[in-house]
């Protein structure tokens, strides 16, 4: 036990929490890109909306958190459906969709600053889980452990939904061959809108739960967006499994990487991305059916 708990394993644990948070956000985005073909630049905005929601409704008890979570689902579904409606006239014009969602993200960022102020806000977890427990010689925040548990539950639920249920089979069929899925009788339009709404709900919920870890502040939306895009691209668009591996990897590089080689973490992240993309491209080519 004592040998296991070193500053590095504690940092690695932080990395797991960070990775699971990224996964919760990016899993929605990877499905949105894979299924609906929409590179939503407003995905970070949804996280930030959730974080502000948590800040606004947090009262140090469970009620505030529950209220914030309920509101998050509503805001996320409405936000996702709204995005779907906004990009619907731009079907098959991916660059225009990027511009449209980017515009929405800018407008939203401006509104957030106007409403919530430009200074970073800190969000406290509910009092019951606000303290720390000792892991060997170190104190570790309970909320972070709880967050890891919630994150793992989200992972399990998403895996079940996407890889085991009929809903998931429909979604994956639309990713694989939208034309043939339509000819099989599946409603492509509704599947796409639902994925945008579901992905939105996931991102806003992640914002509520993640607010004590990455608190609301101007610019957080862009940071989260960039990391989720990295997770999506490295993990492969539309792949939940890939997103999980990529998110955990990015989480480790951003925590453990910073601890071991401060200042070089950004370069490590870029190098790791390039390495993964190169290797995957090489191995993907030969077996690919044509």
């Amino acid at each position: 036990m004592g040998g296991l708990v070193t500053p590095y394993t504690i940092t690695a644990l932080d990395g797991v929490a960070y990775g699971l948070l990224l996964f919760t956000i990016a899993a929605g985005l990877t499905l949105i890109v894979g299924v609906a073909g929409v590179f939503s630049m407003a995905h970070g905005t949804l996280y930030l909306a959730g974080a502000y929601l948590a800040w606004h409704l947090a009262d140090g008890g469970w009620t505030g958190l529950a209220l914030a979570l309920a509101a998050a689902v509503v805001v996320g579904v409405l936000g996702g459906a709204g995005l779907a409606a906004a990009v619907r006239p731009l079907t098959d014009r991916p660059l225009d969709q990027v511009l449209a969602t980017l515009g929405i993200a800018y407008i939203a960022a401006d509104q957030f600053s106007a409403v919530f102020g430009a200074e970073p806000r800190s969000v406290d977890p509910p009092r019951a889980v606000a303290g720390s427990i000792s892991l060997g010689d170190y104190q570790y925040p309970i909320y972070r452990l709880l967050f890891i548990a919630i994150g793992l539950a989200v992972v399990a639920a998403l895996f079940w939904l996407v890889e085991r249920s009929r809903v998931g089979a429909v979604v994956r069929a639309v990713v694989a061959d939208p034309g043939m899925a339509a000819a099989t009788g599946l409603r492509i339009g509704i599947v796409r809108t639902s994925v945008l709404a579901g992905g939105g709900a996931l991102a806003v919920t992640a914002g509520v739960l993640g607010a004590p870890v990455i608190g609301p502040a101007p610019g957080v939306d862009t940071t989260i967006l960039v990391y989720s895009l990295i997770v999506c691209v490295v993990g492969g668009l539309g792949s939940i499994r890939g997103a999980l591996l990529a998110a955990l990897g990015v989480g480790q590089i951003l925590t453990l990487g910073v601890a071991i080689v401060p200042g070089a973490a950004a370069f490590i992240l870029a190098a790791a991305m390039l390495a993964v993309l190169t290797v995957r491209h090489r191995t993907a080519l030969p077996g690919r059916p044509s």
């Binding site: 009929r166 089979a169 994956r172 069929a173 694989a176 030969p286 059916p289």
Partner: protein, 502 residues
């Protein structure tokens, strides 16, 4: 004879266990006009890619002008004099024709502000070679499709190649344009070797001195167009049979009550990038009947099936009716919901989904009167039961076809579209397939079958429509074919007519 300009020694390219090109050997001398033909998936385009360097061989050697170029990158091969055109013209659309050609003229300095007069002259020479002088200042986007193809060849010629690779140069061209293209290729300088891949066999016999036939990646034979025409193996691979004279008696031809047609197609027109592929197609498929559409490669069979299924846009004037209900304005899903089932070419199974998941997707729409008994459908395909947790790439070709069929049947279609179901299947499995198709029709389903395998078409179909050069040229009942096999033989045999200049 001098040493060949290009020599392929047992060149192979495999994707996993699949051999796209399997130990093909070939010699090409300067001045050769050599064509490669073969059914879809024979490995023709792959072979061109291997020679041009856009794919690397997984086995064998490629010698060009005395060098082993197997490991050379594509640009080095291009500089050594190998030029190519693409299946679809690869042009810079905003640039004018002459600017497109200029990009390919060798020996220019990148830093030069204006193109050198010598290069401009070379570009105009190349344009004159293909007869595009008058259109030199038009942008590529403004050119008609046939002119774009000629411009693509001009771009290749401007690089002053010693070996010119043409990938389906006649695809999408009208008959008169094909004739002009054949003339152009014949009059290319004698020191250029031309290797072309094409589906249009009339064009091939007009242009090529030598023809090589590939099938499933393997070299079948090489010879003059006349030798190829009479070669029994070629007929076999191209048509799936040597003669359509041995259909098994169709037990149900007499029992089928011919009612009003379930599926009606009127004046169907479709095309790709402006080039017509199908014109004025009219077909009726009554309940309980199998209508087969046969035709050579590239005749438009797949486009026909996809256009009816809503997977390819139809042009104005087309009418598709199911039970009298017009489907033309519907998307693929609403056509499926109205009762149209599709088993597309290449099966189009969903990668990453298991067999079981495939079978949970389709559901007959509640508004439809016809119901389907899932267990009964699966009883048709016992092989799938043991494969429930496998994904498409783990299935054999036959099992994939059965899965694609089951997926279509689970939606309880009134009309079923089948595109080349026998493609890549062993003869025993084709026999099984014939039984299934026959029993489907027996339950009242209208079946439209696009097939290259004439024996299968004759075995299961009540009537056969022959597709040739964008239209249906003949429509006969299978009974008539049995009496007079030559009926079908003429429009289908490998090179029918020598092209008449128009």
């Amino acid at each position: 004879m001098s040493s060949p300009l290009l020599r392929l020694e047992a060149v192979s390219r495999s994707y996993g266990a699949r051999h796209a090109v399997d130990e093909v050997s070939l010699d090409l001398h300067s001045g050769a006009r050599h064509a490669i033909i073969g059914p879809n998936g024979a490995g023709k385009s792959t072979l061109l890619h291997l020679i041009a360097g856009s794919l690397r061989p997984t086995g064998g050697r490629i010698h060009y002008a005395g060098h082993d170029i197997g490991r050379w990158p594509a640009h080095r091969r291009a500089r050594a004099g190998i030029a190519r055109t693409w299946q679809h013209p690869a042009l810079a659309r905003p640039l004018t024709a002459v600017q497109n050609v200029l990009l390919a003229v060798p020996g220019q300095r990148l830093t030069a502000i204006r193109p050198q007069p010598r290069a401009v002259a070379a570009a105009h020479t190349a344009l004159a070679q293909v007869g595009l002088t008058e259109l030199a200042e038009r942008t590529a986007a403004q050119l008609a499709y046939g002119d774009q193809r000629r411009l693509d060849i001009a771009v290749a010629l401007a690089a002053q190649p010693r070996l010119l690779l043409l990938d389906e140069p006649s695809a999408g061209l009208a008959t008169s344009e094909v004739t002009r293209l054949a003339g152009l290729i014949r009059t290319l300088p004698a020191d250029i070797a031309v290797l072309l891949v094409d589906h249009n066999l009339d064009f091939v016999s007009a242009v090529a001195n030598t023809v090589t036939v590939l099938h499933h990646g393997q070299h079948i034979t090489t010879g003059t167009p006349t030798e190829i025409r009479d070669h029994p193996d070629v007929r076999r691979v191209y048509l799936g049979t040597d003669t359509p004279t041995s259909p098994t008696p169709d037990s149900r031809a007499t029992t089928a009550a011919v009612g009003t047609p379930v599926l009606r197609v009127r004046n169907l027109q479709a095309g790709y990038t402006g080039a017509p592929v199908l014109t004025d197609i009219t077909l009726d498929v009554p309940a309980g009947q199998v209508t087969a559409v046969v035709g050579r490669n590239g005749a438009g069979k797949t486009t026909l099936i996809n256009t009816i299924a809503g997977l390819h846009p139809a042009q104005p004037g087309t009418e598709i009716l199911l039970h009298g209900q017009p489907l033309t304005g519907y998307d693929a899903r609403r056509r499926a919901r109205a009762g149209l089932g599709t088993v597309p070419q290449g099966r189009r199974l969903f990668a990453g989904l298991t067999v079981e998941e495939h079978l949970t997707l389709p559901r007959p729409h509640p508004t439809r009167s016809k119901t389907v008994d899932t267990r009964h459908v699966l009883d048709l395909f016992p092989a799938l039961a043991q494969r429930r947790h496998h994904q498409p790439h783990q299935l054999s070709g036959g099992e994939q076809q059965m899965l694609a069929l089951a997926r279509a049947l689970l939606a309880a279609p009134d009309a079923l579209l089948l595109d080349e179901p026998s493609e890549g299947l062993a003869p025993a499995v084709v026999g099984q397939l014939a039984t299934i198709i026959t029993s489907l029709a027996a339950t009242g389903t209208a079946v439209l079958l696009a097939e290259q395998n004439l024996a299968l078409a004759c075995q299961v179909a009540h009537d056969i429509a022959v597709l040739d050069r964008t239209r249906i040229v003949r429509h006969i009942t299978t009974a008539d074919i049995r009496e007079d096999p030559a009926e079908l033989h003429d429009p289908l045999t490998v090179p029918t007519t020598t092209p008449t200049p128009s």
